[in-house]
């Protein structure tokens, strides 16, 4: 029988190793797997490459991991929010490397990683410093840059409901990066508000099918 439900967030993240590439779902505060990130903070893995749209807020969540020098590199699109002061400090101290990526290219690179597409040509970034060192090519008059897939060891994502197979639905714009990140990691771990019986989710409305999910934990514990 397939049962991906794990008892605690600490159990769910315990085997994450130093040097892992980790996808962090969420856009600002929407759709962030806060409890999983706290568990990762307790767990201790370091030298992490983080992929996340933002760099964390205040001294919590991803910002706490950055504060504790656990993240050696971050791949993101929007590092500078006033609430992301920890990132800015650590960047200035040379404690964290930044790979700045346009948001759509970030999303597409993650999707490509999950879909077995190794690289793609996008017009986004042509003529900007983002294109430095990247191959450029024209398609029917449209100049493009070559971007490569992002594949990760772990994804920490947030959903609204799951069943034991790992089928997921989300809440509103809490969806954001979560469904594509689910596809691009060797181990996808999901924090959900609610666990339902198999068959309870309408097959037409499942956003992430269980094939992409490996571990499920209920927010606040079972």
């Amino acid at each position: 029988m397939i049962n991906k439900i794990v008892n605690s967030v600490d159990d769910a993240v315990k085997d994450i190793t130093d040097g892992s590439t980790i996808l962090f779902g969420g856009f600002g505060g929407a759709g962030v797997a806060n409890e999983l990130i706290s568990a990762l903070s307790r767990q201790g893995a370091k030298n992490i490459t983080a992929v996340s749209n933002n760099c964390g807020y205040y001294e919590k969540g991803l910002a706490k991991l950055i504060m504790d020098d656990r993240i050696s590199k971050i791949i993101c699109s929007f590092p500078l929010m006033k609430e992301s002061y920890i990132f800015k400090e650590k960047y200035k101290e040379g404690k964290i490397e930044l790979e700045l990526v346009p948001q759509g290219t970030l999303a597409e690179r993650i999707r490509a990683g999950g879909a077995g597409i190794e690289g793609f040509y996008t017009p986004t970034g042509v003529g900007t410093e983002i294109a430095a060192g990247k191959e450029e090519r024209e398609f029917d008059g449209t100049p493009c840059v070559l971007e490569k897939a992002i594949k990760a060891d772990v994804a920490l994502i947030k959903a609204k409901k799951a069943d034991r197979w790992g089928n997921l639905i989300y809440n509103k714009s809490g969806r954001n990066f979560n469904p594509i990140m689910a596809t691009a990691a060797k181990i996808t771990i999901v924090e959900v508000d609610e666990i339902v019986e198999l068959g309870e989710l309408d097959p037409e409305t499942i956003v992430t099918p269980g094939i992409f999910v490996h571990r499920i934990v209920k927010k606040g514990g079972l």
């Binding site: 856009f27 600002g28 505060g29 929407a30 759709g31 749209n53 699109s77 929007f78 590092p79 500078l80 929010m81 800015k88 960047y91 930044l98 700045l100 990526v101 346009p102 948001q103 759509g104 290219t105 970030l106 999303a107 597409e108 993650i110 999707r111 996008t122 017009p123 986004t124 970034g125 042509v126 003529g127 900007t128 410093e129 983002i130 989300y170 809440n171 509103k172 714009s173 809490g174 969806r175 954001n176 990066f177 979560n178 469904p179 594509i180 956003v207």
Partner: protein, 221 residues
């Protein structure tokens, strides 16, 4: 008439006049986000927001906020009937794939060829891109809303960008507190001026050469 500059709200109001019924519109942060306040109730405009919201409504009332329903500035918002949600790759398929009719964005510099700079200050070590590069290139029409000059009076409408580029040859129209300028294959065409201003007033604070439209008129706000 006294030569006064338009307020941010007036620039937004003027842009709102150019959003047609049925348009699918992406509004950036700053002046652009104010535009929706001035759209006629007769027009059905669909607002797309990069985090996967199509049919974004007004800012949420106190007590009705959902932390999972936010706009691109991460403020709680609402969804209108007919609205829908999608994930980030699908949202940027809309934005990159030329499915947005009009995007309105802030600007630091615009060149006479329609090149745009708006994501990083000149010489700065860090900047945030977000969706700007995708949206600038992917929208069918790109409107830039900005003050005509920088705070210290420097040119923002220039011959060549010297700020980091957001996207090349992407701007269709510039709305400032002094003028409306179209980017055309002939060059920059001055279409409208703020009440009390004339073409010369605008050219004086514009590095790039302006072609004055035969139909130059005062903005009606």
């Amino acid at each position: 008439m006294e030569k006064t500059l338009l307020t941010r709200e007036q620039v937004a109001e003027r842009i709102a006049q150019d959003l047609h019924d049925g348009a699918i519109v992406n509004l950036g942060i700053g002046i652009p986000v104010l535009v929706s306040n001035y759209v006629s109730n007769d027009a059905e405009i669909i607002y797309q927001s990069e985090q996967g919201v199509l049919g974004m409504g007004s800012v949420a009332k106190p007590g009705e906020e959902d932390p999972d329903l936010v706009n691109a500035s991460k403020q709680p918002v609402t969804l209108v009937p007919g609205g829908s949600f999608c994930h980030h790759a699908d949202s940027f398929a809309m934005l990159r794939g030329r499915h947005i009719d009009i995007a309105v964005m802030g600007g630091m510099q615009v060149s006479e060829k329609g090149d745009l700079a708006n994501w990083k200050v000149k010489g700065a070590e860090l900047g945030s891109i977000g969706g700007a590069m995708d949206i600038a290139l992917g929208s069918r029409k790109l409107f830039i809303a900005m003050t005509h000059t920088s705070k210290d009076g420097g040119f923002k409408i220039v011959k060549e960008l010297d700020y980091p580029v957001t996207a090349l040859r992407c701007v269709d129209r510039i709305y400032t507190d002094m003028a409306i300028i179209d980017v055309t294959s002939e060059g920059l065409v001055l279409k409208e001026v703020a009440p009390g201003l004339n073409a010369e007033d605008v050219q004086k604070v514009t590095e790039a050469r302006l072609i004055v439209s035969n139909e130059l008129k005062e903005m009606s706000i």
